[in-house]
Each structure stands twice: as C-alpha cells, then as structure tokens.
Amino acid sequence: MGTAGVIFDGLLALALVWLAWQATRAADLFHAVVSFIVFGLLMALAWVRLEAPDIALAEAAIGAGATGALLLSALDRLVTREGRRTVLYEPGAAWGFWIPAGAALLGALTLAAWKLPAPGLGDEVLASLGASGVDHPVTAVLLNFRALDTLLEIGVLLLAAVTIWSLGRAPSPLVPVMPSPALPALGRLLFPVFVLVAAYLLWRGSHAPGGAFPAGAVLGAGAILMLLAGARPWIRSSEHGPWRWILSLGLAMLLAAGIAGTVMGQAFFQYPPGTAGPLILLLEVAAGLSIALLLFALYLRGEPCEHGYRGSGP
C-alpha cells in the first residue's frame, strides 16, 4: 500500500484511540455513548482496511448499530430528567491495585505480539474449501468447519433473550422521547431497504463476503430502527403464539443438523456427501432470521407483553 494508505491508517488509528478514550473517560455519559457508537463505525473502516469485509458489515450493523441502540435506550432509563446526572456509582478505589498489574501485562503482551509468526490456517481452509459446499471461506468456517461454535453462538443469543425476559417485563412505553421528528418517516422509508440489503447479503454469502451474520444483523438493526420510528414491538411472549417457536428456530435447526449426522452414522454435524451446499444455505437462512429476531428481542429489555400492547400513551 502507498503512503496515502499509511497516512490513512495512522489517522484512523488516532481517531479510534481518541474515541475509545472519550467513551471511557468523557465526563458526560451521553457523550461517552455517542463516542462509543462512532468508535464502532470507524472500527468497521479498520476492518475493511484489514481485508475483513464480513466483519466490517457485522461491526457496522451490530457493533455500532444494535449495540448503539441498546446503549442509547438504556441511557434514557439511567439518567434522571434533571440533567444527565447518573445514579449508578460504585467505589473505584478497590480496583486501584489492578492498574500496575495491567500495565505490566500490556508491556509483556506488546513485546510478545511483535514476535508473532502468525502462520495462519489459510492453506488448510483453501484445501478443504472444495469439500465444504460453499465458495466463501468465512462461510465455510462458520457453517461447516466450526459449525459447533455457530450453534453455541446462536444459543448464546437465545439464552440472552431468555435471560432478559426473566428480569421482568419490558418497560412501557418502550421508545424514548423522539430525539428527532424526522425519524419515524425515515425509519419507514429505510426499512424496505434494510430488508433488501439483508436478502442480498444472505444470497451473496455462499461465494462472497456476506451471509447469515451480516444479513441477520442488518435486518435486526432495521427492525430496531422501525421501533425507534414508533412502530409497536410485534413480538409477543405468549405460550400460544408463534413467537417462542420462531425465536428458537435457529438453534433448533442447527441442533437438528448436528444430530442428523449422528443418526446417519457419521460424526456430529457431518453433512451427508453432496448435501452440504443446500443444507448450509438452509441453515444460513434460519441462522440469519434468528440473529435478526433475537437482536430485536434483546432490544426490548424485558419480556414483551403476552398478548398485545394496549395504548402506551399517557
């Protein structure tokens, strides 16, 4: 890369450091949260520079988008009306003795990281790519070579949603006071775009950067935006409705795919020969949908109403 690239990287790194510092040190909590969201967006650029477009997509949608929405709406609950004085404090002095330890650790770490040979598994991935059923290496790793990680990860999402439900009911009204009157119209306008982008990413995933994770993340972020724009949350926690089924679908299908291998006399998660491609596509659709819906469920911050929201206004 040329000098321009080096300068760009340097500026990007400086900006990221400044934003991270702001996120952890800024006096104003709102300022800190916004810094963190911008930090996520710039990280997406860094991922692009590091030739990781899949991560860039996921970071923009999840790291900045979904996490940002979560943080902002939590902030609305954490700060009292009178200014942005926060209520939650814990003495920090007890942690003091940790800092020298951390600094020493970091010194050793940097020294160690500089000497990394980083052999990587690129050759192994390429050698097995033909047998994996997909053309895009990251998708092959996620849904074939290391499918067990993906299963547990979808499990973590579902588990997080159940945990949040277990803490109590979703607050009502859910949506904070509108920061901008333009948001509802914008949200309605953008949602179809989000759906299209998600579908495109999912379709592209088998041969190019994209796939279930970014697609699900984009769709989930779009749904959260709709919610911010004033839409009623449509997920219900009723035992009789379909939502519990739909939320569990991704984990259930991954489990079924895993067990199917064993039942057919092969290893856990071994796809029958020749079926890897279509099976992975099926699992990707289920995983992507699960990611989108579960991200949305995480945003609700509590168990949604069982049957429907009555008027939430005053």
Partner: protein, 484 residues
C-alpha cells in the same frame, strides 16, 4: 466408529433441546427437566463406564480434523465432571420442583427452567470442548445462564448478578486474549495439537499467564474471589448449589486441562509454587471468613472460596514429582466437594424455608420438617471435613500422600489447617441446630419431604465416593495429569 461416541452427542444436545421445549411450553417444565436429568445422569454414568473400559478418546465434529475442525474430548477427567454436573443438575431440579410455591408478593421466577437447562447444556459443552475458542463461547454461555439464574429472585440478587457478570466477562476477555496469542503463534486452537507443538517461549508464557488470570477470576480463586459470596449466597438454593459445585469447578477444570496439557512445559517450580500459594491463601482466608459469617448460606459460599484452594495444591505437588496421587487427589476433592457442597446448599435451602430466616442463631429449636435436611447437612459436612471413609477423606489422603512423598511439608500443613477451619465453621452451623433458636410461634410450614431428599442423596454419594476410590483412581489414570 468408537462405541460411546453417541454419549457426548446426547450430553451436548439433549439439555439444549429440552431448554427449547421448556421455553416454548412452560407447563411441561418439571416433567421435561426431570426426565432430561434422568437420561443425562444415566448417559454420564454409562460414559464413565465406557471410559473405564476403553480409555478416553477424541471425536471430531463435522468430520473435520484439527487444526481446521473442532472436536470433543472424552477422558476420565471430563467424564467425571459430566457426571458431577448431571448429579447436581438433577438434584437441584428436583429441589426446585418440590419447593413450596413462593408467596404471592414475591416475584415468580418464570424462566427458571429454560435457564437451568441452558446452564446444564453450556456446562456439558464446556466439559466436552477440546478447542480453545469453543471453550470461550461455552464459557460465555455458562456466564449468561448463571447471571440469569442469580438475578431471578430480583432485589439485591440483581446487584450481585451484575458484579458476577462484570467479573466473569473480564475473565473471558483476558482468556480470549491469551487464545489470540496462541493462535498467532501456533495457528492451532486444539488442546491436543497445541500440547504437541508448544515451546516454552515468551509468547506462550504471556498467553499462559493471561489465560490463567482469566480463569482464576472465573474460578474465584483468592484474591479474585470478591464476587463469589454475594452471588452464591443470594441466589435461589438450587442455583447456589450448581454454581458452587459445578460452575466454579468448570474454571478449575480448564486450568487443569491447560496446565497439564499445552502449558505443561511451562509448569516449572516457580509457577507451580505461585499457584500453590494462591491456593493456600484461599484455603486459609476463605476458611477464616466462613468462620465469621452469621448467615448460613454465606457461610457455605465462603467455604467454596476455601475449598477450591485445595485444588490448586495439585500444581506444586505435581511439579515436585508426586504426579499420580496429587492429581487423583485433587480431582477427587473437586468431585467430592461438588457433591457435598451442592448437598449443603440444598439442605440449607430446605432449612431456611422451614425457619423462614437464614441467620445462624435463628435456626435452632423445633426442627420438625427439617430433620432430613439437617442429616444431609451433617453427612455432607463429614465429607467436606474429610472424615473416613468419605470422598473428601480419600481426596485429602491422596494429596497428603503426595505431599509426604515429595517432601512438601508446607502443603501438608495447609491441608491440616484448612481441615481444622472446615471442621470449625461446619461445626458452628451444625451447633445452630441444637440451640434454642428463635421460635416463630406459628405452626411450621409444611414442606415436601423431597426437599431434603435430594440433598441427602447427594451427601450420601459424596460419602460413598470414598468406597469407590479404586474405581476413581483407575478412571483418572486416563487423565492428562499422569501423561504430563
């Protein structure tokens, strides 16, 4: 295909599938959970039998071998932990099912059952995992499920859950940093593959230090135990039982896996002594604090801090050359502690339900309805202290033998002193039963006899472990400690 490979598939998938079922159909919760538990216990027992017969094995997931694919590791150590998890999980579920309905004013823990099954599945995934990143995902899985279960009762338990969550997330992040360094150095995440290729250089040492630090935080080893007592003391009884008996043991399990696997070349006398000293400090400090507690569950929670200190004594003893008895002794202690500690928490739960309060001085007087629970408490105490012929006794005996054989008299003294502390604080708890207590005046609440029964069964199995000592020794022969 090796016979027995279906076992891990069931142990991994069944709890997760049951969690989904219970989430979708809450009214089936109790039968589904108890049925799942019975199957899991049977499969874990069967797996132990298979390992006894043919030794351990590794099975690949998806037909991909390491370094590309990930695998499951089945050997004496993991089979033991899977069995512990199944026993405690089933007893805890039975306790929770048999507890009287909470008063109308209290929050109804609606999502206990799916969280319980998720925790169970996450722990099984962790004990099976042979891949460092898979371990990370499983660790986070277990953390979230534990946080959900601790926070279920609301109130101050949620603050305890928050502290636990932050400590455990920091622990996993530091652990993951170590994994990243190892990957950059060796391009491998598989435990066995790393064990073959590891060289004692700087990168590996830093990675080992980071991963150990992260796991010490998760296992609440002194001085990183600060989050444990509140979290374990405030959770519902069944949750305290599984957290103290199995979740903490999971952190310790990984430490043992790493130091007797990939990091074995780094385990010099210095490192081993440092870990041993941490363990010694934990034994004494935890014991002292347990002695000073006034609440029954807090006493048991501090006892967990103390008891896992013994586990760390394995490092200096193995480094000093007494590999076999030290190794078997430490694992035996963790197993016996798990069963006994779960029994203590469940018994304490039943006793506190009977008296309506957990202060030690209030627990005396009329014991109708809590007799079985007190008997379970006494039997579990006997094992925790290490009276022969309990599992606790055998574990300590093996550790003492290792200390004598390698001339580690300091570690022997720690063992003795820790035992004295354990006896003292458990005696204090048992003494509370026969003192006058606070009479509430009213008729005691009617409790299901099943409440104390699960605790009694766990306590009896902790005691009976001593009789199965030769079998356990043979099971652990297949473990990593002997080859290392």
């Amino acid at each position: 295909m090796i016979p027995g490979t279906a076992g891990p598939v069931v142990l991994f998938s069944l709890p997760l599938a049951a969690a989904i079922v219970v989430f979708i159909r809450p009214r089936w919760s109790v039968p589904v959970t108890l049925g799942t538990g019975a199957v899991l216990l049977a499969v874990a027992l069967w797996l132990v039998g298979v390992v006894l017969q043919q030794g351990g094995w590794r099975q690949d997931i998806g037909g991909w071998t390491a370094p590309l694919g990930i695998g499951w590791n089945v050997d004496g150590l993991s089979a033991t932990m899977l069995l512990l998890n199944a026993a405690v999980g089933l007893a805890g579920a039975a306790f929770h099912a048999a507890r009287p309905a909470p008063p109308a004013t209290a929050r109804d823990p609606r999502f206990f059952w799916p969280l319980w099954l998720f925790l169970w599945g996450g722990l099984n995934a962790l004990f099976l995992a042979a891949d460092l990143f898979n371990v990370y995902v499983a660790l986070e899985f277990v953390s979230i499920a534990s946080v959900g279960l601790i926070g279920l009762v609301g109130g101050s338990a949620q603050a305890a859950a928050w502290r636990y969550l932050l400590a455990t997330l920091l622990g996993s992040t530091i652990y993951l940093l170590g994994v990243a360094l190892l990957y950059g150095r060796y391009a491998a995440l598989d435990l066995a593959l790393l064990a073959e290729g590891v060289e004692p250089d700087l990168v590996t040492a830093v990675a080992a230090a980071l991963m150990t630090l992260g796991l010490l935080l998760k296992a609440a080893i002194f001085p990183l135990h600060f989050w444990l007592p509140a979290a374990h003391g405030r959770a519902p009884p069944a949750v305290s039982a599984v957290l103290s008996a199995v979740v903490i043991a999971a952190g310790y399990y990984l430490l043992v896996r790493l130091w007797f696997g990939p990091f074995a070349p780094l385990l010099g006398t210095g490192v081993a002594t440092l870990l041993g000293l941490l363990g010694a400090a934990a034994v004494l400090w935890g014991g002292l604090l347990a002695l000073m507690q006034r609440h029954l569950k807090m006493l048991i929670a501090y006892s967990t801090v103390s008891q896992f200190g013994y586990g760390l004594l394995v490092f200096p003893l193995v480094a000093a050359g007494a590999a076999h008895p030290a190794w078997a002794g430490a694992v035996m202690l963790v197993l016996a502690h798990g069963l006994a500690k779960a029994a203590l928490f469940l018994a304490a739960g039943a006793i506190i339900l009977r008296h309506g309060i957990g202060r030690l001085e209030a627990l005396g007087g009329d014991q109708r309805g809590a007799v079985v629970a007190w008997v379970a408490f006494a039997v579990a105490s006997a094992s925790l202290v290490g009276l022969p012929p309990t599992g606790g006794f055998v574990g300590k005996w093996w550790l003492a033998q290792a200390a004598l054989a390698s001339g580690g008299y300091f570690w022997l003294a720690v063992l003795m002193l820790g035992t004295a502390f354990t006896a003292a604080y458990l005696w204090r708890a048992l003494q509370a039963a026969v003192e006058p207590g606070w009479e509430s005046g009213g008729e005691p609440p009617t409790l299901s006899p099943a409440l104390g029964l699960g605790a009694l069964l766990l306590a009896l199995s902790a005691a009976a472990l001593g009789l199965a000592a030769p079998l356990i020794a043979r099971l652990l022969d297949a473990g990593p400690g002997v080859s290392g």
